[in-house]
């Protein structure tokens, strides 16, 4: 091994780190405990040799028991055996596999954007990325929300995503179904910058329906993950992903969220990191807005416009992005229908019953509202879209 060569040293260190990251149930806190202020190369050596003194920190971590340590030691030992057999560095195979897939790796604290992570309580040990590196000069706003968004949430997510892109602000989000994905797609459509953080290996697309979006973010923006190739999505990895979203953004905007859920985890993580949290007000009758409305009552700033977010960032408000609301409906029936939809989603039958209008008239009214962007229909249910 080419000891003494600085580039070689760095590669050896990275290889050890990748090897540590690909251990099952190994997270940043455990890696830090194992390293104990030293480097990864040393840490993996401790693990292989089972040096009791060095493993004490790891044992102190919650959820780590002897069977887990034994499993890790077995995997590390086999990695060392493989490396010895091929005459290569430990982790060289993993490094090559990632390089082949076009994935770069950074230790967050050593990048240009190191200040993001300086005071972070739990920075990732290693970040895997595709696409451009994070440019610290570009302002970043997190746009998150429930996967089960309403038509209103879709409209707002789209509007904010496009508006932020128009203002030259990067949209940070989790590439999930619903608000996350819609906001990022809208930003991409406006040729804006996007940073997508995912909760699985970069080759494990989840949800599969977002495959195209995933690829577009990797091509035109930055796709990030804390996990090595091949790591499947697992429930505990999503809250971990959300803390990275929270850390990366300068302002977090919650578009729609129920009282609990992933978005609320992101909010907590953002609060822990002193990132301002803003929320989009929603109808008090909508389950999807209970969380955001609660955030507002707890003192979060409301987002009624892209300019509100830009003001929070300290950026000048511009004419960019904030799409003007469509003209209010002129016809009496249209207004009546819209009033009905304000209270929640309705079927055609319910609307007939409540407005007393005939099917044909009602259909015309709904058609007008849909074209004007006031209402949206899914599976026979009509919702107010604004």
């Amino acid at each position: 091994m080419n000891a003494g060569d600085p580039a070689g040293d760095e590669r050896a260190e990275l290889g050890a780190l990748v090897e540590l990251c690909s251990l099952p149930r190994m997270g940043p806190a455990r890696i830090r405990a194992l390293m104990g202020g030293g480097d990864a190369l040393g840490a993996i050596e401790h693990l292989r040799r089972g040096r009791e003194v060095m493993l004490a920190g790891l044992r102190a971590c919650r959820g780590v028991d002897e069977t887990l340590i034994a499993a890790w030691r077995r995997q590390v030992a086999s990695a060392f055996d493989q490396a010895a057999a091929s005459g290569q560095l430990v982790g060289a195979g993993l490094l090559d596999a990632h390089a082949q897939a076009g994935i770069w790796m950074t230790v967050p604290a050593r990048t240009d954007a190191a200040e993001i992570w300086e005071s972070d309580p739990e920075p990732p040990a290693l970040l895997f990325g595709q696409g451009a590196a994070i440019d610290p000069a570009v302002r970043r706003v997190g746009v998150v929300g429930t996967r089960r968004c309403t038509a209103y949430g879709r409209t707002v997510a789209k509007q904010l995503g496009a508006g932020l892109a128009g203002a030259g602000v990067a949209v940070v989000s989790g590439l999930a179904t619903g608000v996350d994905g819609i906001a990022q797609r809208a930003a991409l459509d406006e040729s804006g910058q996007v940073i997508g953080v995912v909760g699985s290996g970069l080759d494990q697309v989840y949800p599969a329906s977002n495959r195209a979006l995933w690829a577009d973010v990797a091509r035109h923006g930055t796709l990030l993950s804390e996990y090595p190739l091949g790591r499947r999505a697992a429930p505990w990895q999503f809250p971990a992903r959300n803390r990275i979203v929270a850390a990366l953004c300068e302002v977090l905007v919650v578009v729609e969220s129920g009282p609990t859920g992933g978005s609320m985890y992101t909010v907590d993580a953002a609060a822990e990191r002193d990132r301002p949290v803003m929320a989009v007000p929603g109808p008090i009758t909508s389950v999807a807005s209970v969380g955001t409305n609660r955030l507002l009552s707890e003192g979060c700033a409301p987002v009624c416009d892209v300019d509100d977010i830009l003001a929070a960032l300290g950026e000048p408000a511009g004419a960019h992005g904030s799409a003007a609301s469509p003209a209010p409906p002129s016809c009496e029936l249209d207004r009546q229908v819209l009033d009905e939809l304000t209270a929640g989603p309705r079927t055609l039958d319910e609307l007939t019953l409540r407005t007393g209008a005939g099917l044909a008239e009602l259909a015309s009214a709904l058609g007008r509202l849909q074209l004007a962007g006031w209402a949206a229909e899914t599976g026979g249910w009509w919702e107010k879209a604004r």
Binding site: K158, T177, V287, P345, L348, L359, E377
Partner: protein
């Protein structure tokens, strides 16, 4: 010694003429049937022998060989019993040979000599239409419907021999069955509220548009489907013949002879591909889609059907005919039916309301993915059915009765007939251009929708077709204005985009 008698056997839904040849010779007593008989047909040996003996005739000792010509055709069932018996009685000189000339015999024999009806009397009688036909009394009306030269109903072998020997006249035919009631199915009046569902059912009946109903269990989807049958007009003679042919071949009861009312078939969602489109190993039998020919096929819980089963229906839906091929041969069955389907919007079903469903994203996507896009495209009408409003349910009076709506439907069907089709659903794009012009306002509305991605090219054609049916129902000029178009669009819910990926949102 040799004698022949004429009968027919069923292949798919078609009858094929079979000549039964019986030969006797001296030798050790035996009874052999050759000419590709199946198991049931081979058992005719024992039935015929017992029937002949118990009817008081003789079975002289010796070799009996029965050949069923053409020998390459597979013969199934007990349909040839009667022909074998009369040919045997002729060859043993218990029956005059000339009495069988111009006659055909279709029936199964009981051990006591009773003549019983068989499956597929209508296609069999149709194949034998240039002969005088002898059938069991139960099969008389169905056989008559096929229009052969003469049909005689005889109940026992002894009676038949007496008639053929000129010892007695042909027995009187059984009395005509009572006429079916004018509205034989549940009335639409029972449906309370649910205006859009009522409307969709009416439009489906008028235009032959396939209908998909989304909604929680107990919302009344099955109730609506059962009432759709009553809205359909009587079948024309041609259609009734086609429908009866399949129903007869499948052994469905046909109490009135010709099935003049459209039929409702509602197979359970565990149905296999063979059960739905037809199949079988020994004999190829028509499936549910053919049994529903010229009627309604109701698929409840559409999401629970196996995707392969649903996709197997796509081609028959398009072409109105299904070609079923097996190693033993291939049959084509008619399958022009009105497809009515009901499903829950998601596995939990209780909460179709957006954002209130408790199913996981994956479960929901998997549920909707069972419906392939091409199949979903076939449904011109897709509506959300919610349980009726409690207040309406308690004090509301029912809506229009079936007779009123059926009259409108009949009017619409007449208008469709003037365009040269059974129903509007069969109109092609160019015909629509010709028969259903758009007003400038409707034209503009459509263009805006197409631009906004709210409508696909195929959807455009279907929406126009439904709008034309709406015009027909209103007995209006076939000119599609913005309001008709809006109503047609409102009857076409965007299923499948329910939880669309962000990319498509």
């Amino acid at each position: 010694m040799l004698a022949t008698a004429t009968a027919a056997t069923l292949v798919g839904v078609d009858g094929h003429v079979v000549t039964v040849e019986v030969h006797t010779s001296s030798g050790l007593p035996s009874f052999t049937i050759v000419g590709l008989p199946d198991a049931a047909c081979r058992e005719a040996r024992d039935r015929v022998r017992a029937a002949v003996l118990s009817s008081g005739f003789e079975w002289p000792p010796g070799r009996v060989t029965v050949n069923l010509a053409p020998s390459g055709l597979r013969k199934g069932g007990a349909v040839l019993d009667l022909a074998i018996a009369v040919a045997f009685l002729t060859v043993t000189e218990q029956l005059p040979a000339e009495s069988l000339r111009g006659m055909a015999f279709v029936g199964e024999l009981g051990l006591d000599g009773a003549i019983r009806s068989v499956v597929g009397v209508l296609p069999l009688a149709d194949a034998l239409r240039d002969r005088a036909l002898v059938v069991a009394p139960e099969a008389y009306h169905v056989a008559r419907a096929a229009g052969p030269r003469e049909v005689y109903a005889v109940d026992t072998l002894a009676c038949l021999v007496a008639v053929l020997s000129n010892r007695m006249p042909w027995p009187d035919p059984p009395p005509d069955p009572p006429a079916p009631p004018p509205v034989p199915v549940p009335d639409l009046r029972d449906v309370i509220g649910q205006p859009s569902a009522r409307r969709a059912v009416e439009v489906a009946a008028a235009g032959g548009h396939h209908l998909l109903m989304l909604g929680p269990p107990g919302a009344g989807k099955t109730m609506l489907a059962r009432r759709l049958i009553g809205l359909l007009p009587e079948l024309s003679r041609q259609c009734a013949m086609e429908a009866t042919r399949v129903q007869s071949a499948a052994g469905l009861p046909l109490p009135t002879g010709l099935a003049t009312r459209p039929i409702l078939r509602s197979p359970h969602h565990t149905a296999t591909v063979a059960a739905l489109v037809g199949g079988g190993t020994a004999a190829i039998r028509p499936g549910e889609i053919s049994l529903a020919h010229r009627g309604v096929l109701f698929l409840d819980e559409l999401g629970e059907f196996a995707p392969s089963v649903l996709d197997a229906m796509r081609q028959p839906l398009e072409e109105g005919v299904v070609q079923v091929s097996r190693a033993s041969g291939s049959c084509s069955f008619p399958s022009r039916f009105l497809l009515v389907a009901a499903m829950n919007p998601c596995p939990c079903g209780q909460a179709g309301r957006p954002n209130s469903c408790r199913c996981s994203d994956l479960a929901r996507q998997r549920y909707l993915r069972r419906l392939s896009g091409p199949l979903l495209d076939r449904f011109d009408l897709r509506i959300q059915v919610q349980p009726p409003d409690p207040d309406q349910l308690l004090d509301g009076t029912g809506g229009e009765p079936t007779t009123v709506v059926a009259a409108r439907v009949a009017g619409a069907r007449e208008r469709a007939a003037s365009r040269g089709v059974e129903a509007n659903v069969e109109l092609s794009g160019t015909q629509l251009e010709q028969f259903a012009p758009l007003t400038p306002a409707a034209h503009a509305a459509l263009r805006e929708r197409l631009r906004g991605g709210l409508l696909s090219g195929r959807g455009l054609h279907r929406v126009r077709c439904v709008a034309l049916t709406l015009c027909d129902l209103a007995a209006d000029e076939p000119l599609i204005n913005a309001e008709r178009l809006a109503e047609a669009l409102s009857l076409r819910a965007s299923v499948g985009k329910l939880y669309a990926p962000a990319a498509a949102a």
